[in-house]
Amino acid sequence: MGISRRQFLQGGALAAGAVLAGKPGEASVDTPDLRTRGLKSTTTICPFCSVGCGIIVHTRDGKVVNTEGDPQHPINQGSLCPKGSALFQIANNERRLQKVMYRAPGSDRFEEKSWDWALDRIAQRMKETRDRSFKAKETNKKDKKEYVVNRTDGMAFFGGAGLDNEECYLWSKFARAMGIGQLEHQARL
């Protein structure tokens, strides 16, 4: 069924709009509301620790112009710690990676590449490694019997406790389909 990027954004704004439409009477006398008047609001959850605090993201013309604690959120009731308060600087940060970068073997620098080029080459690398290291069968050291293991031993997938659930699920599904036994992430550390 597919969903365009435009719809994708509207979904968020719509839901968040409904949330904030609660008390229009109070809004006019409330300073933070004045500051954020006319901005689009979207709800999110803090990406740092696991308390799961609610945050409102205010945007204008596709840019994040303010983030603050969500006063309606039952856990944090509007408060945030220093990290949660700094979410704004994740969205607005000149150090954020903006381009696909590639470092050739033995090179001393990154070079910019297109997504298509990089994704094709990565897919190729994954396939080559899988084809080379795929173990259909293996003899067990203890009972000396042969077992079907259908496992790719030549690569590992790491991550990630920073991914969304839906991303984790697809990562898990893709990894196992690739025959990856060595799938690990931060929960082991």
Binding site: F48, C49, R95, P105, D164, Y169
Partner: protein, 803 residues
């Protein structure tokens, strides 16, 4: 967490051991402070006088790695002083179960240890079976072979004086902790134990957690409001990433990943489906075949049929341990060609970082997907190496941040909350969902075109998440929840339910083992139903006043906010604490009221349908005595691998099941101080997400090493001086932070100093510094392989220049 963040307000005593919520989960303190306002007590047990300790009613200092001694002493204190919740212990735990004659324990060793293999024979610890092949029980708990008597005997050795000699805790502090917390053994009192990596990052980490659980079971504190065993997890979605099986031994929903000798689906189900003959045991894992079959249907769609074992053979089979540290070890030997890191930074986050960085250079290719340049993505140009000599091909892909994409994350209390995209990803960044989708589609296309090694698991993988630029995250969430693959009529008691093909499965009790349902992760069944996305709910009503907020987001399992809640009522279904009832049985209406109960059955006393409360275990009773731990049925104190003292409790120095690496040393002449790592509010994990944010960098700009005033005097180190810390693994340099928060430990009459440091720093980003994990050893927990970051030996000297 068995409970959740807001529930902390319901506690009469909060024991924070091996965690520092004021620093690392700051907003949790809103609810801890509410408990304090209600008259509750906060107890902090930590090697350092932390920010949490500064707010606590009682603070007790503990030497790193001696938690079992500390908690074991509390278990003994509760037993000796009859402070336990006896009805709870008798009815709901395995205290009354009889253990077979072979079980024995002597001088730190349990019976049947294989010295060569460094393993125990777990079968020798089994229950003694009676008639009908069921475990024998003695409800009086007086039988000398009953779990209760064996437990008493085991922990009788943990007397207060011995414990304090081990932990270095002042006796009056220790007694104050024991008295305050064990007072929650009364049915109308609630005590919660909060823990984090101070408990898990140990060679006996799982037994540390078990010691926590044992104490809570003895005090009747599991299943109740304000109680529980509560792991304060470190990342925003580490709960979810664990739930979805991103660990070598798991598949989504804590199903086990298949082992080599689970040769077909039948064999897998036989191995991993526990059995019981006791009709009162719900034995929930008995449903394993339904969950694995539904997952395989979600993965292989129409290709998965009963005839082909639902494509079970496509799953990789494990033979051995592929935990993080083992993978790095294999990488270091050149046995891996490729590595993909999705938001993970092994050059900083794992133990013995210098080795990990070297290992990355043995790869042919490395893909990093992150918001930033990380130490891992630029390992080839790290200080001190020649990039030209490193042959690894590196792809650094820019990822979207949390406000640039849509999806759900699960907090520590299992609340799964939906986030929306506020803006498009910056520059050419893309969501991880998009990137994984592209990986899969492109590899699929290559195998479809060129063939290769066993292509079917990939070419036949069901992977349809829309035609848009971005995969439709709602389609993924719907698949995770599960749907009917054909028309179904299900009779549930007096109800007849009709489902059409494609209907969402409303809850996991309707998942099937015959292929008529597909569902990616059974514990999330109910999160996205025909009624819509439950995770996006924002109804802040709280009908019970307990802070359950049942219509805010959604939580697994089945939106149950406090798990094991059938243990909050007596066997007749009446709340142990009528002031804070989580659930209560309404005999007239014949139903439970309050939170979603741990299963619909009537109370345990109901002769026909009653069930035991610990529904995930085949015997239905909480395990004071465990059957499946690799290092013993009871927690036992062992010293950390690097320790300043011999074990005062037995002649078994370290956890006997743990194999020791070569680069560890307990030579006090070389390494006289105890080292430990920790986190600060202003930074996060390996630092990529905070060390490039100017506001946070301004707050904490530098790597530092924290030492006591006594150690500073002894070494002539002043606050802000450059110091060098060394272990058997390597050295780091940083600024000294001299504080009164750290004090030396009394170890056998000798004062041993401690050196604390954050592990957030590295050579990438705006603020850089040496990495604490250069110092930590690669040796892990016997059960989980989680490394012992919290207790190692080091030396510290003034001087040095940062590399």
């Amino acid at each position: 967490m068995t409970n959740h963040w807001i529930d902390l307000k319901n506690s009469d005593a909060i024991l924070a051991i091996g965690c520092n919520p004021a620093e690392n989960h700051p907003i949790s303190f809103k609810w801890i402070e509410q408990a304090l306002d209600n008259g509750g007590k906060l107890i902090a047990v930590d090697p350092r006088f932390t920010r949490t300790a500064s707010k606590a009613d009682i603070y007790a200092q503990i030497r790193p790695g001696t938690d079992i001694a500390f908690l074991g002493g509390m278990i003994n204190y509760a037993l000796q002083n009859r402070l336990i919740h006896e009805e709870y212990v008798r009815e709901y735990t395995n205290a009354s179960f009889i253990v077979n004659e072979q079980y024995d324990f002597e001088d730190g060793m349990f019976c049947s240890f294989d010295d060569q293999e460094k393993t125990y024979d777990l079968k020798s610890w089994a229950y003694a079976n009676g008639p009908g092949d069921q475990p024998r029980r003695d409800p009086s708990m007086k039988d000398p072979r009953s779990v209760f008597q064996l437990l008493k005997k085991h922990f009788s050795r943990y007397d207060v004086d011995t414990v304090c000699a081990i932990t270095g805790t002042r006796k009056e502090d220790y007694l104050a902790v024991a008295k305050a917390f064990c007072a929650t053994g009364r049915p109308d009192k609630a005590g919660t134990i909060l823990y984090a990596m101070g408990i898990t990052q140990s060679t006996h980490g799982t037994q540390n957690v078990r010691a926590v659980a044992l104490l809570q079971m003895l005090l009747g504190n599991i299943g109740i409001a304000g109680g529980g065993v509560n792991a304060l997890r470190g990342e925003s979605n580490v709960q979810g990433s664990s739930d979805y099986g991103l660990l070598f031994h798991l598949l989504p929903g804590y199903l086990k990943s298949p082992e080599f000798d689970n040769v077909d689906l039948k064999g897998y189900n036989e191995k991993w489906t526990p059995k019981t003959r006791d009709p009162k045991s719900a034995n929930w894992w008995g449903n394993t075949p339904k969950y694995i079959t539904s997952m395989l249907k979600a993965w292989y769609g129409d290709h998965a049929t009963k005839e082909n074992d639902f494509c079970y053979s496509y799953l990789p089979k494990r033979s051995g341990n592929y935990s993080y540290s083992k993978i790095i070890e294999r990488m270091g030997k050149g046995e891996l060609e490729g590595l993909v890191c999705m938001g993970m930074n092994p050059a900083v986050g794992g133990p013995d970082s210098l080795k990990a960085r070297e290992a990355l250079g043995k790869l042919q290719w490395l893909v990093t997907v992150d918001l930033w340049e990380t130490e891992t993505s630029i390992f080839w140009k790290r200080p001190g190496v020649n990039a030209r000599e490193i042959q690894t091909e590196v792809f650094m892909l820019p990822a979207a941040s949390s406000v640039e994409k849509e999806g759900s994350i699960s907090n520590s209390g299992r609340w799964t909350q939906w986030r929306y995209a506020a803006i498009h990803p910056v520059g050419d960044a893309r969501s991880d969902l998009h990137i994984i989708d592209e990986f899969c589609k492109r590899v699929k296309a290559l195998y479809a075109k060129d063939g290769g090694a066993f292509p079917e698991p990939i070419t036949r993988l069901s992977w349809n998440y829309g035609d848009g630029h971005e995969p439709d995250v709602n389609l993924v969430a719907r698949e995770i929840n599960g749907y009917f693959t054909k028309e179904m009529t299900i009779t549930d008691k007096d109800k007849v339910l009709e489902f059409k093909k494609g209907d969402q499965v409303p809850m996991f009790k309707y998942l099937q083992d015959d292929g008529s349902t597909a569902g990616g992760c059974w514990i999330y069944c109910g999160s996205y139903t025909n009624d819509g996305n439950q995770m996006a709910r924002r109804d802040a009503s709280d009908p019970t006043g307990l802070g359950l907020f049942p219509k805010w987001s959604w939580c697994w399992p089945v939106n149950r906010r406090i798990i094991y809640n059938r243990a909050s009522v007596n066997p007749a279904g009446e709340p142990f604490n009528p002031k804070r009832p989580v659930i209560a049985w309404d005999g007239l209406e014949k139903k439970w009221k309050g939170d979603v109960p741990d299963g619909p059955w009537p109370p345990m006393n109901d002769a026909k349908e009653g069930k035991y409360p610990f529904i995930m275990l085949p015997e239905g009773h909480g395990r004071l005595y465990a059957l499946d731990m690799k290092d013993g049925p009871f927690p036992e104190h062992y010293e950390p691998v690097e320790s300043p003292t011999r074990n005062l409790l037995s002649r078994t120095q370290n956890n006997p099941v743990v194999k020791l690496p070569a680069n560890v040393s307990s030579d006090l002449a070389k390494y006289p101080c105890i080292g430990t790592t920790y986190r600060v509010t202003e930074h996060w994990q390996a630092g990529a997400m905070t060390r490039s944010l100017p506001w946070l960098v301004e707050l904490v700009p530098d790597m530092f090493v924290e030492i006591s005033e006594t150690l500073a005097r002894q070494k002539g180190i002043a606050n802000g001086d450059q110091v060098k810390v060394s272990t058997e693994r390597g050295s780091i340099q940083a600024k000294a932070l001299v504080t009164s928060r750290l004090k030396p430990f009394n170890v056998g009459g000798k004062m041993i100093e401690q050196v604390g440091m954050p592990w957030h720093f590295g050579y990438a980003g705006l603020a850089t510094g040496d990495s604490g994990n250069v110092l930590t050893p690669t040796v892990g927990c016997a059960n989980t392989s989680i490394p012992e970051f919290k207790a190692f030996l080091c030396s510290i000297d003034k001087g040095g220049k940062r590399a």
